[in-house]
């Protein structure tokens, strides 16, 4: 079992990444959808309360029930990057969400990455059990 290789593969296991192109959107307009709690809640599917400073409270009550609570890591209006941590009230561990905007030729690209604490494994190069025929293939499918 190759430690380094296994370590890199664990990156895939605990991170979800999505990108969405908003054609012809203006940067400021797109950023409002992220930084304005009301508009953020519109597409996250709930009511968002947040204190837009590092360490500030982040809370969302989902329209379909359930809630998450956490804190703001960074809300950078110049870099158009918002990161926060959240967890369900009965969960022990939080996950980290980063939403960022980038200008592209044909619009604005919204990028979302949600990472679980398992990412720490990558730093230590820990191999996970079950890497083999099923592991990476299944992960690749789930990730696609």
């Amino acid at each position: 079992m190759e430690l380094g290789k296994a370590g890199r593969e664990t990156v895939v296991i605990q991170s979800v990444e999505r990108e969405l192109l908003l054609p012809a959107a203006e940067p400021d307009e797109a950023w409002d959808s992220v930084a304005d709690p009301e508009r953020l809640g519109d597409w996250l599917g709930g009511d968002v309360e947040l204190d837009p400073v590092p360490g500030g409270e982040f809370r969302i009550s989902f329209d379909n029930g359930g809630e998450r609570e956490g804190f703001v890591e960074e809300l950078d209006s110049e870099a158009h990057r918002f990161s926060f941590w959240w967890r369900q009230p009965d969960d022990e561990l939080s996950t980290r969400v980063e939403i960022s905007l980038a200008e592209a030729e044909d619009g604005i690209v919204v990028r979302v990455v949600e990472t679980s604490p398992m990412a720490t494994l990558d730093l230590t190069g820990i191999p996970l059990p079950g890497r083999g025929a099923q592991g990476p293939t299944a992960l690749a499918l789930a990730f696609a």
């Binding site: 979800v16 519109d42 599917g45 979302v112 679980s116 398992m118 059990p129 099923q134 789930a142």
Partner: protein, 106 residues
């Protein structure tokens, strides 16, 4: 989220070391693991129990010893987490896209 117990069990460096050892060099009894790590057999047993609860290892008696073995199943939970979280973001981003594809007033 479904992967939670696995992530919690893996949050401890000693447990990761135990798991690495078992994944790398195969099943071993607690006594042998304790000899290889700078902690007591008691502590090793405690950590192995946490790993067993997260279903990352199984234990089976072999002669006078209990051997601990790494199990692959919890990875299915991690895959499930990715699928769940991915589906949630797909649906949220679809909602964001819908916001931008229709005329609206600020």
């Amino acid at each position: 989220m479904s992967g939670e117990p696995v992530f919690a069990a893996l949050s401890d460096p000693t447990r990761r070391a135990l798991l690495t050892r078992l994944a790398d060099r195969g099943p071993a009894p607690a006594t042998q693991l304790a000899a290889e790590l700078p902690i007591s057999r008691q502590a090793v047993l405690k950590h192995l129990e946490a790993l067993r609860e997260a279903q990352l290892v199984t234990s089976a008696r072999e002669g006078r010893e209990v051997l601990y073995t790494v199990t692959p199943e919890p990875l299915a939970d991690a895959v499930g987490w990715i699928a769940d979280v991915g589906a949630q973001w797909d649906s949220r981003l679809a909602a964001l896209q819908a916001q931008f594809s229709q005329p609206r007033t600020k």
